[in-house]
């Protein structure tokens, strides 16, 4: 029973971390219409920033500054926001495709740095011994799991409330105006480019924070945790949830993560060993097809305000 509860806590924690990333993407795509295909890169920037700052001193790489965890998280959000702001600065005066291509490039380069800048990132072996919150409780696994879940849930709720507040604030209304009628908003003296850069940076900050929270939840990071599959999962989560809705983003993350984990467990139990890798690729094919089908038939998603379970637009 305790085992099952422990697993439930672990599952929910992982799903909520995805929910955080998806909330960041929702600010960028759902509320502002900015297409980011480099999510994995931005999450990795946050994870590595916090890991390098908070780990105890290590002989074989720069970093290990032994900062408090919270300071690492704040730094992760700030650094990722800066990277996102620069990406936006370079591309947001151009057509939206350029942003997509550039974010794709960001993910490639971050992956490259994670793999090759061994003295900073630990190379392919990554960074270990990332301090976990409430580590002194580690000898009581059940309690430890639940406290971790509590920390992650608290961060998710805080980010959710902040984003809800933001979307209702004057700032959020400008984003909405830019999305609905760009020319009218510009004629009222709002700089489309500047607001978009801000939104992209804020979304990036949330992704970076999510990356840091995940790094401290697992205690270990390596480059292969930030492959394009991650970007892809987060997109599926937002599209299932319904882009534009923060609630939808969270629900979509939990549902898609449950499907993903369930399919993984199913294929691990049913598929013979030498076919496991192939079954894993089929899992990605399924998500890709699902994404395309949603785009074709249900672009508003399932859990947003216009979804199956939401209120109808009055």
């Amino acid at each position: 029973m305790i085992d099952l509860l422990g697993y439930a806590a672990f599952f929910t924690s992982s799903a909520l971390i995805f929910a955080l990333i998806t909330l960041g993407l929702n600010l960028q795509w759902g509320q502002t219409g900015l297409f980011n295909v480099g999510i994995a890169g931005f999450v990795a920037i946050g994870a590595y920033t916090s890991a390098i700052l908070t780990t105890p001193e290590a002989a074989d790489r720069i970093g290990g500054f032994d900062w408090p965890i919270l300071a690492g998280w704040v730094a992760a959000a700030l650094i990722t926001a800066a990277a996102a702001a620069f990406t936006g600065f370079a591309t947001l005066r151009l057509k939206s495709d350029y942003l997509a291509i550039t974010t794709f490039g960001v993910a490639v380069v971050v992956q490259l740095i994670a793999l090759n800048a061994q003295s900073l990132t630990g190379g392919p072996f990554g960074v270990a011994f990332i301090p976990r919150p409430f580590a002194h409780l580690q000898d009581q696994p059940a309690l430890f799991n639940f406290i971790n879940l509590g920390v992650i849930a608290a961060v998710t709720i805080a980010v959710y409330l902040a984003l809800e507040h933001l979307s209702r604030s004057p700032w959020g209304r400008v984003l909405k105006a830019l999305r609905e009628d760009e020319r009218a908003a510009i004629s009222l003296g709002k700089s489309a480019r500047s607001y978009r850069i801000q939104a992209f940076a804020a979304g990036g900050a949330v992704m970076g924070l999510a990356g840091a929270v995940q790094a401290h939840f697992i205690g270990f990071i390596a480059p292969n945790g930030y492959l394009p599959t991650l970007t892809f999962q987060v997109w599926a989560m937002l599209m299932v949830g319904g882009s534009g809705s923060n609630k939808g983003a969270i629900l979509g993350s939990i549902v898609v993560w449950a499907i993903w984990v369930g399919a993984g467990a199913f294929s691990a139990a049913v598929v013979p060993g030498d076919w496991q890798a192939r079954a894993a690729s089929l899992q990605i094919v399924a998500i890709g097809v699902m994404l395309c089908l949603i785009l074709l038939w249900r672009p508003q998603g399932f859990f947003g305000p216009h979804g199956l379970f939401g209120k109808r637009r009055s």
Binding site: V37, G288, V289, C292
Partner: protein, 302 residues
């Protein structure tokens, strides 16, 4: 510094350039950046590999042509592979892109291409596994060309094929009726429709040309390096960078952009190390976007 990097750069640059032609045409005519273009390359290479295997099973082993690593089955298979890749692109357009394009939000089409790319790539991994395949396992002797430069017969033939394909593309775009229609449509779709240009035909031609050239580039990567499901993904960023550097819509620009990126990558391999190769395309992309976003031969975006 060893001059060998010029040969290496020209070869990888021409592969990037061939792929970038499809990207630049898709962008100029269908108005979206196709993230699945790299996967056309990989599918083309695997399709050709399968046809070669089928021919091999029917005819038995064949002798390679001259000093090359491949014989006539590969040339025949390449033509079939190009046709198959074109069919794949047309099918994907019919199933997915055309429907979303009609709704008028180009960024949704980009997203669909991203989803399709992930599905196509993983499907290749499912069918062929992620371990690399080869058209031929033989090792070719490189011929010394002087100045410390060496080139294999395969590489020479690939360079010549690229020159032929690019010249043919240029003549097609500038001389043929379809090419002129494509250019007209890319400059002003509304006006092109008014003067009676068949939009569906232009769209079809764009997919066929882009996919066939992607397949050709994929086969060349397969002959010179290896065939992997991720080969297209790895070339996607250099291809985008080449298309933007050359100026969106410009075929010569895409090829020139590809050559510049190929040569810079090869130079970077010698100067800072092979592991940073993939960052070069990104650096060039950022520089172009910050300094001259319309690229070398492009028109300003409106």
């Amino acid at each position: 510094m060893n001059l060998q990097f010029i040969v290496d750069g020209l070869i990888s640059g021409s592969l990037i350039g061939l792929g970038a032609i499809g990207i630049t045409l898709t962008y100029a005519i269908l108005r979206f950046s196709n993230f699945a273009h790299g996967d056309f390359m990989a599918w083309g290479a695997y399709g050709t590999l399968s046809v070669v295997a089928a021919i091999g099973a029917l005819v038995g082993t064949t002798t390679p042509i001259g000093a090359l690593s491949f014989g006539w089955p590969l040339i025949l298979a390449a033509i079939i592979g190009m046709a198959l890749t074109a069919c794949l692109a047309l099918a994907l357009d019919w199933l997915l892109f055309a429907r979303l394009r009609d709704r008028g939000q180009s960024i949704i089409v980009v997203m669909a291409s991203f989803g399709a790319s992930m599905a196509l790539r993983s499907l290749l991994e499912f069918i062929f596994t992620s371990s690399p395949n080869y058209f031929s396992r033989g090792i070719q002797m490189a011929i010394p060309m002087g100045f410390g430069v060496r080139i294999t017969p395969d590489q020479m033939v690939m360079l010549a094929t690229t020159v032929i394909l690019v010249t043919a593309m240029h003549l097609f775009m500038s001389r043929s009726q379809t090419g002129r229609e494509m250019r007209a449509y890319s400059q002003n779709p509304a006006l092109a429709r008014v003067v009676g240009i068949d939009t569906a035909r232009v769209v079809r031609a764009t997919w066929i040309i882009g996919a066939a050239l992607a397949c050709a580039a994929g086969i060349m990567v397969g002959i010179l390096v290896q065939i992997r499901p991720l080969m297209g993904l790895d070339l996607l960023l250099p291809m985008f960078a080449a298309a933007i550097l050359g100026g969106i819509g410009s075929v010569p620009g895409a090829v020139l952009g590809g050559l510049i990126i190929g040569l810079s990558e090869a130079a970077a391999v010698q100067l800072i190390g092979a592991e940073w190769r993939a960052a070069i395309a990104f650096a060039i992309l950022m520089a172009v976007l910050l300094v001259r976003p319309m690229g070398l031969f492009g028109r300003a975006e409106r």
